[in-house]
C-alpha cells in the first residue's frame, strides 16, 4: 500500500486526475490497477529512454563515418553478443510485467470471495437502469443513472443489456466490463474513498453514446442504508397541473411508484429530484434543466428515445417543479 502511494506521488499525471480517472483510485480494484499502471509506466519509460539513448549514440557515432564504398562483410561478433544481452533484458522485463499482470488479475478475482451487495445495472440506449434488492422485502428498488455504494463492502454489479452492447466503466472504482445482450456479466467493486465519481458507457452504442453517463456516490454504510430506505419509499402523488405526469403521456414510459405511472421503457422517476443529473449525465439537475429536457429532448440529446411531449406552459412549470421535489 505504501509503495502504491509512493509510486503515485512520482507520477506527475496524478496531479490532474479527476472524478472519472483511473489515476485517482477510490476502490481496492482501482488501487491494484493503478499499481499495475505505475509498474508498467516505469518499466516502459526506462526501456524507451534506453532505446532513444542507443539510437542517439549510433547516430552520433555515425556522423563522420560516411564512406562511399559499402562494407560487405562486417565483423558482427560483438553486436551479436549485444543482441543476446538485449533479448535477455526483454525477456526479464516481460516476465516482470506478465507476473505483475497475473498478480493483479488474481487480486481482482479474489475479491469475489467476499460477501457482496448485489446491484443490477441494465444498459439501454442511452441510460442505465439501476436496481437494488429491497432489504425489507424480496422486491427490487429501482432508480436510474445514479449508483450509490457503501464504503468498505464489496458490491457485485450484475450487468445486463436490453438492446445493444454497452460497457460499464467507473475508472475511479474499477476497470470496465462490457454489457452484452444474451450474456450475464458481473463486476466486483470494493470502494473505500467517500465522494462523488462519474462513470460512462465505454462501448460505442449508437447516436448518444457520448451522453450515457452516470454518477457514483460512495457513502458511509449508515448513509447508504438511509439512502436506500428513502429510495424504497413511493413518490409523493402529483397535484394540479402536474397530474399529467401520472395520467398523461409520461406514464406510458416512466414509473412513479405510488401513482398510476407504471411505464417501463424509460427511467424510473420516483426520486428523480434527488439525483445529480438529468438524462444520463447530459445536464446537471435543476428545475430549469428538467423543464428544458421535457420541452426539447431532441435538441439536448439528438436521437434520444424520449419524445417531446406537448404540454401547456402551466403544465410544464408544474411538472418540472413536481419532479424536482421528488427527493
Amino acid at each position: 500500500m505504501r509503495r502504491m502511494v509512493l509510486l503515485a506521488c512520482l507520477l506527475p499525471l496524478a496531479a490532474c486526475a479527476g472524478r472519472q480517472s483511473p489515476l485517482a483510485p477510490a476502490a481496492l480494484q482501482a488501487e491494484w490497477l493503478h499499481w499495475l499502471l505505475m509498474l508498467m509506466f516505469w518499466v516502459c519509460g526506462i526501456v524507451y529512454a534506453l532505446v532513444i539513448a542507443l539510437l542517439g549514440a549510433s547516430i552520433w557515432r555515425g556522423r563522420h563515418r560516411l564512406a562511399a564504398k559499402p562494407e560487405i562483410e562486417p565483423d558482427d561478433r560483438r553486436l551479436s553478443r549485444g543482441l543476446g544481452v538485449w533479448a535477455g533484458m526483454i525477456v526479464v522485463g516481460l516476465t516482470v510485467l506478465i507476473l505483475g499482470s497475473f498478480v493483479v488479475e488474481r487480486q481482482l478475482a479474489d475479491m469475489r470471495a467476499h460477501e457482496a451487495l448485489v446491484v443490477r445495472v441494465t444498459g439501454q440506449q442511452w441510460w442505465w437502469r439501476v436496481q437494488y434488492r429491497d432489504p425489507a422485502g424480496g422486491g427490487w428498488i429501482e432508480t436510474a443513472n445514479e449508483l450509490h455504494l457503501p464504503a468498505g463492502r464489496t458490491a457485485r454489479i450484475e450487468l445486463g443489456s436490453v438492446d445493444v452492447i454497452h460497457s460499464f466503466w467507473v475508472p475511479n472504482v474499477a476497470g470496465k466490463m462490457d454489457v452484452i445482450p444474451g450474456r450475464a456479466n458481473a463486476i466486483d467493486v470494493t470502494p473505500h474513498r467517500l465522494g462523488w465519481f462519474r462513470g460512462q458507457c465505454a462501448e460505442f452504442c449508437g447516436a448518444q453514446h457520448a451522453h450515457m453517463a452516470f454518477d457514483v456516490k460512495v457513502d458511509t454504510p449508515a448513509e447508504f442504508t438511509r439512502w436506500l430506505a428513502a429510495q424504497a419509499r413511493p413518490a409523493a402523488p402529483p397535484t394540479g397541473a402536474a397530474l399529467v405526469v401520472a395520467n398523461g403521456a409520461c406514464a406510458s414510459c416512466h414509473t412513479l411508484r405510488g401513482t398510476a405511472a407504471r411505464g417501463r421503457a424509460g427511467p424510473d422517476l420516483t426520486h428523480v429530484g434527488g439525483r445529480r443529473s438529468v438524462a444520463a449525465g447530459t445536464l446537471p439537475m435543476s428545475r430549469g434543466a428538467l423543464q428544458g429536457w421535457i420541452a426539447q429532448p431532441q435538441a439536448l440529446k439528438p436521437g434520444t428515445l424520449m419524445p417531446a411531449v406537448a404540454l401547456s406552459g402551466a403544465q410544464a412549470d408544474a411538472v418540472a417543479a413536481y419532479l424536482e421535489s421528488l427527493k
Binding site: S21, C44, V51, L54, L83, S101, L108, I165, F204
Partner: protein, 623 residues
C-alpha cells in the same frame, strides 16, 4: 532493346490504359488512389479534431460525427493501409527480383479494379448521404437488422468484400512471384529482407482475410435473409462476430506493419552502407510475429467477460510479441551503429519511425495486460496507442520508402530541403497531436464520443491534439507538393542515386515496360555491392512475353513461362463481380444471377493460348 519494347509496351492511349498488365502502372494507380483516400481520411480526421477541440462543440451533431469516424477508420484500414502495402509489393517485388512482371499479370489488374470498386462502394454512397455510421468494426446487434435499418451497414460490409478480394488477389500474386520467379542464384538465404517481409505479410493476408469476409457475409445474411448468427434470442451469439472480426483484425495490424519492417530494413541497409545486421534473426523474428499474430486476437476483447485464465494466456501471448519486435529495433540501431550512415530523408523517416513506433509498442505492452486493459481499452489511451503503431509504425516507414524509391519510379530526385520540412512537420505535429491523447485516456475520456461537457476538463489537451494534427496535415501537403513538383522539375536521378544494394537499382529509372534487359544472376545478399558489373543470363525470348520460373528454395532455373499480355477481361470481370456485390445488398438472388456475367468474363479472361511452359536453352554469362 526495341524488340523487348515492342513485346512488352502497352498500346498507347486509353485502350492501353484499361488493358495494361504492367505491374508498375498498376501499382502507380494503386498509389495515386491511396493518396487521394489518405487525403480524404485526413480531412475527416481534422474535421473531427475541430469538433472535439472545445467542450460542447457544435461543429457536428452525433450523426455526422459517427459517420466521420466510421469513414475515417474504414478508409484508413481497408482503403489506405492494406492496399498501399500491396501496391508497394506489386511495384517492387518484380524489380527486386530482376523479373519482367508478376507471376499473374492479369490478376494484378483485376486486383486494382476491384480495389477501386471498394473505394467507390464506400465514397459514392457517402456523396449520396448513405454513409456507414457504426465505426470500422460495426458490432452487432447495433449493426443488426433491429438497430440499423437502411443500407449503411450493408455498404460497409460489401466494401470489405471488395477490398479483401482485391488484397487476396494481390497477395497470391506476390507469394507466387517471390517463391517461383527469383533470379538464378537468389536462394532463400540470399533473398533481400524486404522480400521476406512481403512474403510473410502476403501469407498472413491469405490466412487472415477470409475470416472478415466470412463475418461480414454472415452479417449481411442476418440482415438480408434473416439468419440468426448474431441474435441471442434466435440462438446466435453477438460475441461470435467479435471473435471472427478480431481473428482477422489483429493479424491485419501486422499485415500493415510487416511490409513497413521491410521498408525500414531496406532503407537502413542502403544508407548505413552495410548489409542489415542480424539478417537471420530479423527473418526469424518476422516469422514468429506472423505466427503469434494469429494467437492473440482476444486482447481486443478483454472487457467482454471471458474466463480469466484465457485472458491471462492472451496477455502472455500479446506481450511475447515484444521480444521479436524489440530484437528488430536492436538490429536496426546496430546496423546504423556499425555502418557508415548517411542521413538523407529516407533515413530521417527511419529515425522518426523508431522514436515514435517504440512509444506505440510500449503502450501496446500496457494494453496487452488483461487487467490493466480494462482501464485503458475504448479510451483515448488506445486511440493514441494505435495511431502511434499504425502511423508511427507503418505510415512513417511508408513515407521513407516513398522518398527512397521515388527516384526509381520517376527518374527524378525529390527536393531534400522540402523533404526535411515535411518530415519535421509530420513527425512533430503527429507527436504533438497524439501524445496528449494518452493523458486524455488516463483522465477518463472514452473513444467515439462526439462531444463532452466543460466540467470534464478535457478541452485543453484536446485543443493541443487538434493543433498537432493540423500541423501534421500541413506536412502531408508539403510532402505531396514536393513529389508533384519534383515529378517535372526534379534533378534526373540516374539508375542508382543512393548506391542501393538490391537488384531494382540495376534497372533504368524509370524502369522500361520489361524492367531489365537481361535477367540478373545473383551471388550474394547485396548483389549490386558485390559486383560492379552484374552477371546476367540469357535465353528468354525477346519476341514473346516470357518470364523465368525457378525452384522455390535454390532458385534454379526450371522453365520459361508465357506471361499474359494486356487484356480488357480483368476489368470486365471486375465490373461483373462489382455488379454482383452491389446487387447482393438488395437481394440474395443477385448472388445467383450475378454469377453468369462473372463466368463469361472469367472464361474469356482465361481463354487458352498455346505454348505455356517451355524448357529451352538458358545460359548464364558474364557481361
Amino acid at each position: 532493346m526495341s524488340r523487348l519494347d515492342d513485346t512488352w509496351a502497352d498500346k498507347p492511349g486509353w485502350w492501353g490504359f484499361v488493358t495494361t498488365v504492367d505491374h508498375k502502372r498498376i501499382a502507380a494507380r494503386y498509389i495515386v488512389t491511396v493518396v487521394a483516400m489518405l487525403f480524404l481520411a485526413g480531412m475527416l480526421a481534422l474535421d473531427m479534431r475541430l469538433q472535439l477541440s472545445v467542450a460542447n462543440g457544435t461543429r457536428m451533431g452525433p450523426q455526422l460525427y459517427d459517420e466521420s469516424f466510421s469513414l475515417h477508420g474504414s478508409t484508413m484500414l481497408f482503403l489506405v493501409s492494406v492496399p498501399v502495402m500491396e501496391a508497394m509489393g506489386i511495384w517492387l517485388v518484380p524489380l527486386m527480383l530482376g523479373a519482367r512482371n508478376l507471376a499473374f499479370p492479369r490478376l494484378s489488374a483485376f486486383s486494382y479494379w476491384l480495389y477501386l470498386g471498394g473505394v467507390l462502394m464506400l465514397w459514392i454512397p457517402h456523396a449520396l448521404g448513405i454513409t456507414p455510421d457504426l465505426g470500422w468494426f460495426e458490432y452487432p446487434p447495433l449493426s443488426g437488422p433491429g438497430y440499423a435499418p437502411g443500407h449503411r451497414v450493408d455498404i460497409w460490409a460489401q466494401m470489405i468484400t471488395f477490398t479483401e478480394v482485391a488484397a487476396l488477389a494481390a497477395s497470391v500474386n506476390v507469394v507466387a512471384t517471390i517463391l517461383k520467379m527469383r533470379p538464378p542464384g537468389m536462394t532463400l538465404a540470399r533473398m533481400p529482407f524486404f522480400l521476406w517481409a512481403m512474403l510473410i505479410a502476403s501469407l498472413m493476408t491469405i490466412f487472415a482475410l477470409p475470416a472478415v469476409m466470412l463475418v461480414t457475409s454472415m452479417l449481411i445474411a442476418d440482415r438480408l435473409v434473416s439468419t440468426q448468427f448474431f441474435t441471442p434470442a434466435g440462438g446466435g451469439d453477438v460475441l461470435l462476430f467479435q471473435h471472427l472480426f478480431w481473428f482477422f483484425g489483429h493479424p491485419e495490424v501486422y499485415i500493415i506493419f510487416v511490409p513497413a519492417v521491410g521498408f525500414v530494413s531496406a532503407i537502413v541497409e542502403a544508407f548505413s552502407r552495410r548489409p542489415l545486421f542480424g539478417h537471420i534473426a530479423m527473418v526469424l523474428s518476422l516469422l514468429s510475429i506472423s505466427v503469434l499474430a494469429f494467437g492473440l486476437w482476444v486482447h481486443h476483447m478483454f472487457a467482454v467477460g471471458l474466463p480469466r485464465l484465457g485472458n491471462d494466456f492472451y496477455t502472455a501471448a500479446s506481450m511475447a510479441i515484444a521480444l521479436p519486435a524489440g530484437m528488430q529495433i536492436f538490429c536496426w540501431i546496430a546496423t546504423i551503429w556499425s555502418g557508415r550512415p548517411r542521413f538523407a530523408t529516407p533515413m530521417l523517416w527511419v529515425i522518426g519511425f523508431i522514436a515514435t513506433f517504440v512509444i506505440g509498442g510500449l503502450s501496446g505492452i500496457m494494453v496487452a495486460s488483461a487487467p490493466l486493459d480494462l482501464q485503458l481499452t475504448d479510451t483515448y489511451f488506445v486511440v493514441a496507442h494505435f495511431h502511434y503503431v499504425l502511423v508511427g509504425g507503418a505510415i512513417f516507414p511508408l513515407f521513407g520508402a516513398f522518398c527512397y524509391w521515388y527516384p526509381k519510379a520517376t527518374g527524378r530526385l525529390m527536393s531534400e530541403r522540402w523533404g526535411i520540412v515535411a518530415f519535421v512537420l509530420i513527425v512533430g505535429g503527429f507527436n504533438l497531436g497524439f501524445f496528449p491523447m494518452h493523458i486524455l485516456g488516463l483522465e477518463g475520456m472514452p473513444r467515439r464520443v462526439y462531444t463532452y461537457g466543460p466540467e470534464m476538463g478535457w478541452d485543453g489537451l484536446n485543443l493541443l491534439a487538434t493543433l498537432g494534427s493540423a500541423v501534421s496535415v500541413l506536412g502531408g501537403l508539403v510532402l505531396v507538393a514536393n513529389a508533384l513538383v519534383s515529378y517535372w522539375r526534379g534533378t534526373p536521378a540516374g539508375p542508382d542515386p543512393w548506391g542501393g544494394p538490391t537488384l531494382e537499382w540495376a534497372a533504368p529509372s524509370p524502369p522500361p515496360p520489361y524492367n531489365f534487359e537481361h535477367t540478373p544472376v545473383v551471388t550474394g545478399i547485396a548483389p549490386l555491392w558485390e559486383h560492379d558489373d552484374l552477371p546476367v543470363m540469357t535465353g528468354l525470348n525477346d519476341e514473346a512475353r516470357e518470364v523465368l520460373v525457378t525452384s522455390v528454395v535454390d532458385a534454379v532455373p526450371i522453365y520459361r513461362q508465357h506471361s499474359s499480355g494486356p487484356s480488357v477481361w480483368p476489368l470486365i470481370s471486375a465490373v461483373a463481380v462489382s455488379a454482383m456485390f452491389v446487387g447482393s445488398i438488395f437481394t440474395a438472388w443477385a448472388v445467383i444471377w450475378g454469377m453468369l456475367p462473372i463466368a463469361i468474363g472469367l472464361i474469356l479472361w482465361f481463354w487458352p493460348v498455346r505454348g505455356r511452359a517451355t524448357s529451352g536453352p538458358l545460359r548464364t554469362r558474364a557481361r
